[in-house]
């Protein structure tokens, strides 16, 4: 995939991956051997007919190809960018056995962008109105997927979002250089065009409860997709010093509030000279790469295991390294120090070594006694994971959760209460956009069956 050169992109917010040209797309599409039993489809959580859309590319019918994807996914331009295809469809591609998989995600992005650039959207077939009303809580990938599927089935769909912008983690979490906001907004507009209603600034659990939605507001079913919005901290001494952000706060200040454009925008973000990002998941990578774009001298990622165990997508890790982010593997913080005005100035870290596999199956990271040393920093971003926000769970009687507060569902997304479904990170814990979309799709199917049987 052609990309902006690392030295240029590390200081700008323009999209990193430039996308295929028509010629490149055709070359790539030709690599698909159109297998008799296309295994790639079974790797797609939203069941896109991949060989079919690739055949349309070969016929140079790019809009037709995009529409084939849209039969199953309402968000092709988003998925073409942020889906981990290498673990999904591309992992099952026959070409991957002997060499390199067809770049399915890149082709998806190409046709979706082609369609978007030309505004060549056609109205999908929408079933006759069912007069059933469904509330979707949260406007992230899981809800957007369910919204598209349910609207096409003829239901009246309302999406409630707590923040002022739509998209959930796609808006506040994933940075502009991985997912331009114009792309997100275009996909949301397509949903509005098929009748999906969006209500921002409405916190379910506060402004309205789930029970009020189902009784007073007259919704026939509710889908909970409130994500993993509760940041975890390390509970180490000094962690509440100024200059120590959760990854959520750091990314929200920039992605949602445009802190990188202060003072044109009022929300500030302060970046020092030496930034440490704690953790090495996808959120940590996003935080580190956003930090680099704000202009510090150095950005370090501090991770207690080694490069081999990094949980982030390989492409994100490669991109981060290319952009000059430095990695301190086998290192873990133990405490933070600050100056008299309460701003962080450094931390103490301890060296680790790998031990026997732990419960997660990965080698345990074991501290090496006496290896504590200091590490100067003036900005710290804590990216050690997120849990589910408890606002809905704590105000919905009879809703079963597990010990981490995640909502418990069956395979169809049904919770412990009839008519109440859930999916995405609030069920899975921190997971991926495409698995959240798969949940939205499954829940939409189950909600449809439930509503049409009653």
């Amino acid at each position: 995939m052609p990309c902006q050169l690392p030295l240029a992109r590390r200081r700008n917010f323009c999209e990193v991956a430039i996308g295929f040209s028509e010629e490149q797309a055709l070359l790539e599409a030709r690599r698909c051997i159109d297998c008799k039993n296309p295994t790639c489809i079974s790797g797609c959580p939203v069941e896109i007919n991949i060989p079919h859309f690739i055949r349309s590319i070969l016929k140079r019918d790019y809009v037709g190809a995009a529409n084939i994807i849209r039969e199953k996914s309402s968000l092709p331009a988003i998925c073409g960018r942020v889906c981990q295809q290498e673990d999904q469809c591309e992992a099952r591609c026959v070409n991957a056995i002997k060499g390199t998989s067809v770049g399915i995600g890149r082709l998806e992005r190409f046709v979706a962008d082609y369609q978007m650039a030309r505004g060549a959207f056609s109205s999908p077939n929408i079933a006759a109105p069912t007069r059933k009303r469904i509330a979707l809580v949260g406007s992230g990938p899981s809800s957007l997927t369910a919204a598209g599927d349910l609207a096409k089935l003829g239901h009246r769909v309302t999406v409630f979002e707590a923040l002022h912008k739509l998209g959930g983690v796609l808006a506040y979490g994933i940075p502009e250089f991985r997912l331009p906001r114009a792309v997100l907004n275009s996909e949301i507009r397509q949903l509005e065009n098929i009748g999906v209603e969006f209500i921002t600034n409405c916190v379910i659990g506060k402004t309205e409860t789930v029970d009020e939605l189902m009784t007073e507001e007259g919704f026939d079913a509710v889908f909970l997709a409130t994500g993993a919005g509760l940041p975890y901290f390390l509970n180490l001494p000094g962690e509440n010093l100024a200059g120590i952000y959760s990854a959520n706060e750091f990314l929200t200040r920039v992605n949602l509030m445009q802190g990188n454009k202060f003072p044109e925008y009022d929300t500030p973000i302060r970046i020092g000279k030496r930034v440490a990002v704690l953790g090495a998941g996808n959120t940590a990578m996003d935080a580190a790469r956003v930090a680099m774009r704000l202009g510090p001298e150095e950005v370090h990622m501090i991770y207690r295991r080694t490069r081999a165990e990094v949980p982030a997508r390989a492409e994100e890790l490669d991109h981060a390294e290319e952009e000059g982010i430095e990695f301190q593997f086998l290192t873990s913080p133990t405490q933070f120090f600050g100056n008299t005005s309460g701003w962080v100035t450094g931390m103490e870290v301890i060296s680790m070594e790998l031990g026997e596999p732990d419960n997660s199956g990965r080698p345990a990271a074991v501290p090496i006694k006496g290896s504590e040393h200091s590490f100067d920093v003036d900005t710290v971003i804590v990216a050690v994971g997120q849990g589910p926000n408890p606002l809905v769970q704590s105000t919905t009687p009879g809703l079963t959760t597990n010990k981490w507060g995640n909502i418990v569902t069956d395979d169809t997304g049904l919770t412990s209460r009839p008519g109440l479904y859930a999916g995405g990170d609030v069920v899975r814990g921190g997971s991926t956009v495409i698995l959240a979309m798969g949940d939205g799709k499954r829940a939409a199917r189950a909600i449809h069956q439930y509503l049409m049987a009653t």
């Binding site: 200059g243 929200t252 202060f262 408890p390």
Partner: protein
């Protein structure tokens, strides 16, 4: 979309009362709840306590003192204009019961936050003693409203320009020394005031609630920017508060965290004032 400003009135120097349209929130508001407001596309999200609500009209009352850029921007708006985003009601409601005798203390614009608590406490059959204070007479707010809902009202100003000269802790100390049987205290105002009240009442073991005002962004527990230290533990003021037991709050950490963006706040304010000047001169 947007929330229309229906009414605006000056209640003291640089302090305005707004009545805004927000039907869903008005239906749900309880004393102690707050809203997050983003006035324009470029504005910050800032938390403001809901002073009153009218579910039938679908309106909320908020009171705003011009301090930095965001509050000045709000106070420059007029009836008929819209606030881009208003979300709430957020935070836990104030714990109110029939406690017996309670004291409501409001310092500066904190009186706006104490008023709904005093009203609810009165409605719950408490004897309500109130103490309100301000730096100077021109900054004192809601005296009539507080008098109406209180069995006793003490008014103080730092400079003695109105009421008794002194701080809000002074009448409270007198009440305690007189041996009044105070069950619960609600103290809302500047951090040093809330700290002083908490320090005074701790040895007497009088339950003292304070309302914390850290920097906040989303207000729903998503960012952790508003974290405060209570009983040695990190809590999020937006979802765990905003009211906490004053005897357990680490006020020093709160003061330092609230100063984190002092430089940026100054920059934003200067830029705003320059723009205002340009606009004004443009009219002349």
């Amino acid at each position: 979309m947007g929330n229309r400003i229906l009414d605006k009135s000056a209640i003291a120097e640089g302090i305005f009362r707004f009545v805004i349209e927000a039907p869903r929130i008005a239906k749900k508001q309880k004393p102690g709840n707050f809203v997050i407001i983003r006035a324009t596309e470029y504005a910050e999200r800032i938390p403001l306590t809901i002073v009153d609500s009218d579910p039938a009209r679908g309106t909320l009352t908020i009171i705003v003192q011009s301090v930095g850029k965001s509050t000045r921007l709000l106070n420059s708006l007029h009836p008929g204009e819209e606030l881009l985003d208003v979300v709430g009601p957020l935070g836990h409601p104030t714990p109110i019961d029939s406690f017996g005798t309670i004291v409501c203390i409001g310092g500066g614009v904190g009186t706006a936050e104490v008023l709904p608590i005093a009203r609810a406490a009165k409605a719950a059959d408490n004897e309500v003693i109130s103490i309100i204070g301000a730096r100077t007479r021109n900054l004192l707010i809601l005296e009539d409203e507080m008098r109406e809902t209180s069995d006793e009202l003490y008014v103080v100003t730092d400079d003695g320009s109105y009421g008794t000269a002194g701080l809000v802790v002074d009448p409270l100390a007198d009440l305690i020394f007189q041996g009044r049987d105070i069950n619960t205290i609600y103290a809302i105002g500047p951090i040093p005031m809330m700290k002083a009240v908490s320090d005074l009442t701790e040895p007497y073991n009088i339950k003292t609630y304070v309302s914390l005002n850290p920097v906040m962004i989303d207000g729903t527990g998503m960012c952790g920017g508003c974290r405060v230290v209570v009983e040695g533990k990190t809590r999020f003021a937006c979802v765990d508060g905003p009211e906490f037991d004053g005897h357990l709050v680490d006020f020093d950490t709160l003061i330092l965290r609230n100063r984190a963006y002092a430089q940026e706040e100054k920059t934003a304010l200067e830029r705003f004032e320059t723009a205002e000047t340009v606009r004004f001169e443009g009219l002349v």
